[in-house]
């Protein structure tokens, strides 16, 4: 799917034509530079590699410096491959205007990290028992995780405590409410994963 790399700016609300306040997220989408073309002959598949965001020259490895030099561009912080683009050349610039207002997009990002969390927060368990009347220490415990001698093991995928958040999350079917071409901004309906300033991938 053709897409673009962007940066989450933050959330606000705008009024629709009927006057309803709609929650929306502002994304700075692009400008992205085509840094490499993957071809069927050479790489076994067709794709376009886009670069977004500036990076300091002295923090770029020599290998990547050469890669960016080929595309005749400055070092980019994030490189992502997309399929579905046609007629692009290395060095072309892709802007937010590849999207239209009213179109539906998917946004992929890294969700906010919540650390190591118990089952109540992580999976919405109810906890065990009540907080008073002789309750000892089972308030936020998971309860039973299975039977005894049969199956004599814990099933795979049993929901338990562990790392929550900081994982790649895609939210699909978000409507594009506004495309502001001169500032390369996209306004999509609803929320998207990640913190303000985090890199996101917007796909058609």
């Amino acid at each position: 799917m053709p897409g673009i790399i962007g940066r989450k700016i933050g959330m606000t609300s705008i009024y629709s034509a009927e006057g309803k306040a709609t929650p929306c997220t502002v994304i700075e989408a692009g400008p992205c530079v085509v840094t490499q073309l993957k071809t069927q002959d050479r790489d076994g598949y067709d794709a376009v590699q886009l670069g977004f965001g500036e990076k300091k020259e002295n923090r770029t490895t020599s290998a990547l410096k050469g890669h960016f030099k080929k595309a005749n561009t400055t070092p980019k912080a994030k490189l992502v491959e997309f399929k579905g683009f046609d007629n692009l050349n290395v060095g072309d610039v892709i802007l937010a205007n590849i999207f239209e207002e009213g179109e539906y997009v998917g946004v992929k990002g890294t969700s906010k990290g919540k650390g190591f969390q118990g089952v109540v927060k992580r999976h919405g368990f109810g906890g065990v028992g009540q907080s008073t009347h002789g309750q000892h220490n089972r308030l936020r415990a998971p309860g039973s995780i299975g039977a005894c001698s049969y199956p004599a093991r814990v099933f795979k995928g049993m929901r338990m405590a562990g790392q929550m958040g900081n994982s790649t999350v895609t939210i699909e079917n978000l409507q594009v409410l506004k495309v502001i071409e001169e500032k390369n901004l996209l306004v999509v309906k609803g929320s998207i994963p990640g913190a303000k300033g985090s890199t996101v991938i917007i796909e058609k």
């Binding site: 700016i9 933050g10 606000t12 609300s13 705008i14 009024y15 006057g19 306040a21 502002v26 700075e28 506004k178 502001i180 500032k183 901004l185 306004v187």
Partner: protein, 120 residues
């Protein structure tokens, strides 16, 4: 953050309403759409709080309907708000007068702010 503020200014039409704050008694005239018909309804009461900033700012108005308290939250830039009229400006010490909800009868009075000649 600045990008959001400039965007809000561009996308939201900000209306000119009289300045009011919590403790003030205001009348909000707002449009109601019923089927195909539109009419204007008013809501008169005391402002309990103003919340948020910029295009997403809201305010809460509380009135007594009989002996039942009714509160309505309006977005200040809502296109449905026709006009806001300031009836009385009240003297309160807090920006959010939630204690006002527990008051009834004579206790639920707000001293009117005195306007001196040099302040006008």
């Amino acid at each position: 953050m600045d990008i959001i503020k400039t965007l809000q200014n561009e996308l939201t039409e900000q209306k000119q309403h009289p300045a009011f704050k919590s403790g003030d008694n205001i009348t909000v005239s707002y449009r109601i759409v019923e089927g195909n018909k539109e009419r204007i309804q008013t809501f008169q009461g005391v402002v309990i709080q103003r919340r948020g900033s910029g295009a997403t700012e809201t305010f809460t108005v509380r009135k007594m309907s009989g002996n039942v308290g009714v509160e309505r939250i309006f977005p200040i830039n809502s296109p449905f708000i026709e006009s806001i009229a300031l009836n009385k400006s009240g003297y309160v010490r807090r920006a959010r007068i939630f204690y006002f909800r527990e008051r009834t009868g004579k206790a639920a009075r707000i001293r009117e702010k005195k306007h001196f000649a040099h302040q006008k």
